[in-house]
């Protein structure tokens, strides 16, 4: 599904503070499975995730998505792929305050030009599936951490993407809520979605919901 070949990523390239976050990553992410990137802070997990999710481009190397090389595409096309094929769940959830849960969920659907009614219906469906239907019209800042995460998950799913990308999804959740997240993860697999996540939470990486764990340290892969 996703193939990375010799991915290298530099920040502030050519300046005195040049920093290489990734040093030649080769990785293949299998479709319909949950792959977790595990490693300490600064190991390059998030950087790799942004490259896979078309949020940034590699400095060197190739990214293939469903066989097509997307590493050199202009921003507009990358945005298109990102919107249609990837759904993101961020560590801080990154919801927009002041808007209701539903209004946050439909945000990725707005640039597609789908009618508002269709988007809202789909958002309500997703919230029902995530057992949050009763909070659909509540402003997101009034929701608990777990509820906010479920809103973020629903937002990631609104465009029905093939790949879900989640950065440290349980970092702000207690054990009970983390387990709930793992149940949702199993639901993704059942629905045929491919999931790539980063985590150093043993509850996640040791869970049966995760099919493959890839270790990372200092911008390099360690061992599966």
């Amino acid at each position: 599904m996703i193939e990375l070949t010799n991915i290298r990523k530099a920040f502030n390239q050519g300046r005195h503070n040049e920093y290489w976050a990734l040093h030649g990553i080769d990785l293949s992410v299998e479709a319909g499975k949950v792959t977790a990137l595990r490693g300490p802070s600064g190991s390059g997990k998030t950087t790799l995730l942004t490259i896979v999710g078309c949020l940034s481009r590699p400095t060197e190397g190739r990214v293939r998505f469903k066989g097509e090389d997307i590493s050199g595409l202009p921003e507009r096309f990358l945005t298109d792929i990102r919107r249609q094929s990837f759904g993101f769940v961020f560590q801080q959830f990154n919801l927009i305050k002041g808007l209701s849960a539903v209004d946050n969920i439909i945000l990725p659907g707005m640039p597609t030009g789908r009618p508002r009614r269709a988007l809202v219906e789909r958002a309500d469906e997703l919230l029902d599936q995530l057992k949050l239907g009763h909070r659909s019209r509540a402003r997101v800042e009034w929701l608990s951490g777990g509820e906010q995460q479920r809103v973020a998950i629903a937002r990631a799913l609104i465009n029905d993407p093939e790949v879900i990308i989640a950065d440290e999804p349980t970092a702000n959740l207690d054990t009970a809520l983390s387990r709930e997240f793992l149940a949702i993860l199993e639901g993704f697999t059942a629905a045929g979605k491919t999931v790539l996540l980063t985590s150093h939470d043993p509850l996640v990486v040791d869970s049966s919901a995760v099919h493959r764990v890839v270790g990372m340290r200092d911008g390099r892969l360690t061992a599966d």
């Binding site: 998030t46 995730l49 942004t50 949020l55 940034s56 921003e75 507009r76 945005t79 990102r82 919107r83 249609q84 993101f88 961020f90 560590q91 801080q92 990154n94 919801l95 927009i96 305050k97 002041g98 808007l99 209004d103 945000l107 990725p108 707005m110 640039p111 597609t112 030009g113 789908r114 009618p115 508002r116 937002r155 465009n159 950065d167």
Partner: protein, 378 residues
């Protein structure tokens, strides 16, 4: 609905929600902007209406007024001048006029006294302008006395108060009979203040004026179009004065609006990052901000414009009238005929809506082109 339209509706929807979320900032901004538009539109509408009013009012005045000059100063028209003009082709009517100024120490105001034929105003009676009537508390059949410059007291009965419709011209006017006028000012018999000539064909006015100058070399013909032009430049000048005085305040408001529009809060930057990360294009974000700029500036333009219209045409431009109308003790009260110029509106639109929308765009462009992965690192 077409997806493009649907997308614009989504953008407007999101923009309105964003504006509502930052209510205090945006309401403040809207008020400041509305105030600028209100001030500029009031000035512009009022001076334009005054110019139109002046043209309208002067339309009924004689085409040429002839004044006699002595040592470069306006002097009385001596007897025989009307006859010396003789028959000039194109002149429909010529008439000697009698008018002068009178200072009333009771209200510290100057009145304009003008003689009318006995058929209009009988001896011993006067007709007064409504501002004067208001100031002196006069009504028909009241009696009023004026002390002449020679120190004699003259009593008059008010026959009528002039219609408020003509107040712009007649605010301080006192109409009296020719006999009374001559007695009151001790005006020599056969002399006139000036001569009014009516010319039917506007093309002939300048020719008539040239012939008058030849026939009466010590006289000065004043054309109606020159008077009109003088009024126009007077109103332009006053508009300029007011604008200069207000420039500081307008500039302060403009800077405030610019600063508010062009400054992006950390929260707004974060939101732009989120939107980019979840699939909004740079263009979508810029379009959304253009909608925001347009919504604020168009609302300010409409509110300010309508408020200015009401202020000028329903409340007589109470804020600017004293400066723009002139200075006097007896202010005429009049309702301006609504006169709106398309070019004026377009100019105002261009100078209010366009700069604001541009001010919104500059910072958003910078924020919108940042990499979407920034949000992952926040």
């Amino acid at each position: 609905m077409h997806p493009w339209l649907e997308k614009q509706l989504h953008l407007i929807d999101f923009t309105l929600a964003s504006l509502a979320r930052r209510k205090t900032k945006n309401v403040g901004l809207l008020l400041a902007y509305t105030l600028i538009v209100f001030v500029l539109a009031s000035l512009s509408l009022f001076t334009h209406a005054l110019r139109s009013e002046a043209s309208y009012v002067l339309a009924g005045s004689p085409e040429v007024i002839l004044q006699r000059m002595v040592a470069g100063r306006h002097d009385l028209i001596p007897p025989g001048y009307l006859e010396r003009i003789g028959r000039i082709r194109g002149v429909q009517k010529k008439e000697g006029r009698l008018w002068g100024y009178y200072y009333d120490p009771v209200v510290n105001a100057n009145y304009t006294f003008m003689a009318r034929p006995a058929s209009e105003v009988a001896d011993g009676t006067i007709m007064v302008g409504s501002a004067l009537a208001r100031e002196r508390g006069l009504a028909p059949n009241n009696t009023i006395s004026f002390r002449s410059y020679a120190g004699k007291l003259f009593g008059f009965t008010v026959a009528a108060v002039l219609s408020p419709d003509s107040e712009l011209l007649s605010a301080d006017l006192v109409l009296l009979s020719e006999n009374d006028f001559r007695r009151f000012f001790e005006y020599p018999e056969g002399h006139y203040t000036d001569i009014a000539l009516s010319v039917a064909n506007p093309q002939e006015v300048r020719t008539v004026a040239a012939k008058l100058s030849t026939a009466l070399p010590d006289s000065r013909p004043i054309l109606r179009e020159e008077v009109l032009r003088t009024y126009q430049s007077l109103f332009d000048w006053r508009e300029g004065i007011v604008l200069t005085v207000l420039a500081g305040a307008i500039l302060a408001f403009a800077i405030l609006a610019w600063e508010k529009a062009s400054g992006l809060s950390a929260e707004e930057r974060r939101e732009i990052g989120i939107l980019k990360a979840i699939g909004w294009e740079t263009g979508d974000i810029i379009r959304m901000k253009v909608w925001e700029g347009l919504i604020i500036s168009l609302t300010a333009f409409l509110l300010g414009g309508i408020a200015a219209y009401v202020h000028v045409f329903h409340f007589g431009a109470a804020v600017f009238a004293p400066v723009l109308k002139g200075w006097s003790v007896l202010y005429p009260r009049f309702t301006l005929v609504p006169a709106v110029d398309g070019l004026q509106i377009a100019t105002l639109f261009f100078f209010t809506v366009v700069p604001y929308t541009a001010a919104v765009l500059v910072p958003i462009w910078r924020a919108a082109i940042t990499d979407p992965d920034a949000v992952m690192r926040a």
